[in-house]
């Protein structure tokens, strides 16, 4: 049976995403390793999340279908650009987010942002999808299609349960 990383990777690629940026994350580490080795996609690591919002906007306007791979803690760094660039110009950038601070979190400091992330995404006008286990990956395919149809950004939250199989 495939592991959660490969199932997610294949889902996102099959949905047509062909341009990736990333900020490091342990839960998404294997995903990022696969990205670096995949010669069929454009990929660049970035310094922090807001920068990736700009890069995704450029990539989209140049005909690509971009995504950022990141931890939820970094979303706070990007909110102005999410609103005044992605939502202002209606750019359907995607956020693939490991949900730190969710059930199973071992670092207390992650929990506040972990609890706030859903509300922050909604306030920032980003469609928010919780993906609790790999069996729910169909919601990712649908959410990506909706984002491109509506020309709006979308986020997908992958909590510890997605990666460990423990809910």
């Amino acid at each position: 049976m495939s592991n959660p990383t490969d199932l997610l990777y294949d889902t996102v690629r099959a949905a047509g995403v062909d341009f990736f940026t990333s900020v490091p994350c342990k839960l998404l580490g294997d995903f990022i390793t696969r990205l670096s080795a995949d010669g069929t996609v454009a990929y660049t690591p970035v310094s922090r999340e807001e920068e990736a919002v700009g890069i995704m906007a450029g990539a989209f306007m140049a005909g690509r279908r971009p995504a950022l791979v990141m931890q939820n803690s970094g979303f706070g760094n990007s909110i102005n650009a999410v609103l005044s660039l992605l939502n202002y110009y209606r750019i359907p950038a995607l956020f693939l987010i490991s949900h730190r601070g969710s059930e199973g979190e071992f670092i207390e400091a992650q929990k506040l942002m972990g609890n706030a992330i859903g509300d922050l995404l909604r306030v920032a006008g980003v469609a928010c999808h919780d993906i609790p286990h790999p069996g729910a990956l169909e919601q990712v395919s649908q959410g990506i299609a909706d984002a491109w149809r509506d020309q709006r950004p979308a986020a997908f939250l992958f909590p510890f349960s997605f990666w460990t199989g423990k809910e």
């Binding site: 700009g54 306007m61 690509r64």
Partner: protein, 185 residues
């Protein structure tokens, strides 16, 4: 050299390639000097112009110019690190350095005292970096950047102040985006 003079030279040398422009008076000066479908006017998201340019350069063949300001680059200095890492051969980043935060009342920026963005760019691993302060120097630097592999960073020392008779850009976001995307096809 006044900033709008620099913008005129950049637009002239860029010709029909995409130009992404940072917000505020810089955008308005580009609009007034050389409006064209290949211009992307970034009206919010201060700091993102170099990143948008990078995203375009990594996505399609052909040169792209990003016009940025010194204080805006300072807000997103990680972008220089990413450009140095990604080495996009087609990206030309022009930083107009007026040593001030123009849009908010010309408060001195960090380059007025200590910051040297050309040195930061070099430290980020960008080899083709130049610093110019007159029209002939800028024209030469743009010609080099248009005709050789980059990434290129050109820091342009310009006077503070704005072009007389500027107006708010009379285009909505959908118009700006769609016209630009059509021009890139």
């Amino acid at each position: 050299m006044k900033r709008f003079e620099a913008i005129g030279i950049i637009a002239d040398r860029a010709g029909a390639i995409p130009v992404v422009c940072t917000l505020g008076h810089t955008c308005q000066e580009l609009f007034k000097t050389a409006d064209r479908p290949t211009n992307f006017y970034m009206l919010g998201s201060m700091g993102m112009a170099s990143s948008i340019g990078l995203g375009i350069a990594l996505s399609r063949p052909g040169k792209v110019v990003a016009i940025d300001g010194d204080a805006a680059v300072t807000m997103n200095m990680g972008s220089l690190a990413t450009i140095g890492h990604a080495q996009p051969a087609d990206l030309i980043l022009v930083i107009l350095d007026n040593q001030a935060n123009g849009a908010t009342g010309f408060q001195p920026s960090m380059s007025a005292r200590s910051l040297r963005l050309d040195q930061v760019a070099r430290g980020c691993g960008i080899a083709a970096v130049s610093r110019v302060g007159d029209p002939a120097g800028l024209a030469t630097a743009m010609n080099t950047a248009m005709n050789t592999a980059g990434p290129h960073v050109i820091v342009v020392d310009v006077e503070t102040g704005v072009m007389p008779g500027l107006q708010i850009i009379p285009m909505g976001p959908a118009d700006i985006r769609n016209r630009f995307m059509d021009a890139l096809k």
